[in-house]
């Protein structure tokens, strides 16, 4: 029986199955924590622990799905091109808002984690917390963070932004829909952008584009920002 776990088929099949079920549950019950990704991750971890299967055995197949994140990043370039046409009018203030927000995201999370006594590998894994998962993974690998922790945090940030982002922004006095879209895409990447689409198509376009720009920005600046901050530990 244990040989089945060692085949790529196992990891791929269980991921597809659980994801399909999670989507059905998420569609049926509209509840913040019933996010398909969160449900899938928690259920698969539960399953592996229950049957005492190592992550490595699961990942024999899982890595094939993970590999597809590489081409997905390239596909984001196509999305970027499409959305770019829609926001030309506001290009300068929009890019400025994403660049300022994205820089503050990296700086604030690293400084706060340092103040709270997190270890260096944790700080390095937190740095790309606001950018889309495939890009965050690449950043984490390059700056010496732990890709799995980075991925988990990024997913959690996305779900947080999706669930509470619009409410927090309204309390803080941000009512402009384009600004809400840009803020969700910058702070909470694709999962946040999904919520920006509820505010309207244009807000969704702002979110998608903000996600792309912040991904690129964070990939370019994070290694240098960390060199600046980490000697302060």
């Amino acid at each position: 029986m244990s040989e089945i776990y060692q085949q790529p088929l196992f990891g791929i099949f269980i991921t597809l199955l659980v994801f399909q079920l999670s989507q059905i549950i998420a569609r049926k019950w509209k509840f913040v924590l019933f996010n398909p990704v969160l449900l899938s991750v928690v259920s698969i971890i539960g399953f592996l622990l229950l049957f005492n299967i190592d992550f490595e055995a699961y990942n024999v197949g899982g890595q094939y799905l993970g590999f597809l994140l590489g081409p997905t990043v390239v596909a984001l370039g196509v999305l970027f091109y499409e959305k770019y046409e829609q926001i030309k009018l506001n290009l300068l203030p929009f890019v400025a808002s994403v660049v300022i927000g994205g820089t503050i995201s990296v700086l604030s999370v690293c400084l706060l984690a340092m103040l709270l006594g997190a270890s260096e590998p944790i700080i390095r894994s937190l740095a790309p917390k606001s950018v889309t998962t495939p890009i965050a993974l690449e950043i984490a690998k390059i700056i010496g963070g732990l890709p799995y922790i980075a991925a988990g945090i990024v997913i959690a940030v996305g779900i947080f932004g999706n669930a509470f982002g619009p409410g927090i922004l309204r309390i803080l006095g941000i009512r402009n829909k384009n600004a809400i879209g840009a803020a969700l895409g910058t702070a909470a990447h694709g999962i946040g952008t999904a919520r920006a689409l509820d505010e309207g198509k244009l807000a969704g376009a702002y979110g998608g584009l903000a996600m792309c720009i912040n991904g690129l920005l964070t990939a370019l600046i994070t290694p240098y920002l960390l060199e600046l901050i980490l000697p302060m530990v």
Binding site: S40, V78, L89, V98, T132, A179
Partner: protein, 112 residues
């Protein structure tokens, strides 16, 4: 569709080659993302050729990162030790990022 997949893998390859030739401190797929944007903007490739494939990749993106989320289980001890720092810094920083991005665009953006 197949043409689009081919283009996407071609630009991924171009990105990886550029990174390894120039020794850049950035991932090949990110360079590929910029390269395909430039190719579309300069009309070297057509949107209708890549869009069917790129839309599918983006649609199923969340499925592809599930294995990385599951990988969190291997870091249980480390997370247990640092969870307060992680949760507090992440939540505060996310609220700050939301606010700063939103206020800049609200103040200086034009309404369409």
């Amino acid at each position: 569709m197949l043409k689009g997949v081919l283009y996407i893998f071609l630009f991924l390859l171009i990105g990886e080659v550029i990174v390894s030739l120039c020794n850049l401190p950035i991932a090949g797929n990110i360079v590929g993302m910029v390269a395909i944007f430039i190719a579309l903007k300069t009309k070297v490739i057509k949107l209708k050729d890549v869009k069917p494939a790129s839309d599918q990749f983006i649609k199923y993106m969340v499925l592809f990162f599930i294995p990385y989320g599951v990988g969190l289980m291997t870091f249980y001890d480390m997370l247990k030790m640092h969870w307060v720092a992680i949760v507090v810094s992440t939540v505060l920083s996310t609220i700050l990022t939301l606010y700063v991005t939103g206020i800049v665009l609200q103040k200086f953006g034009k309404d369409e």
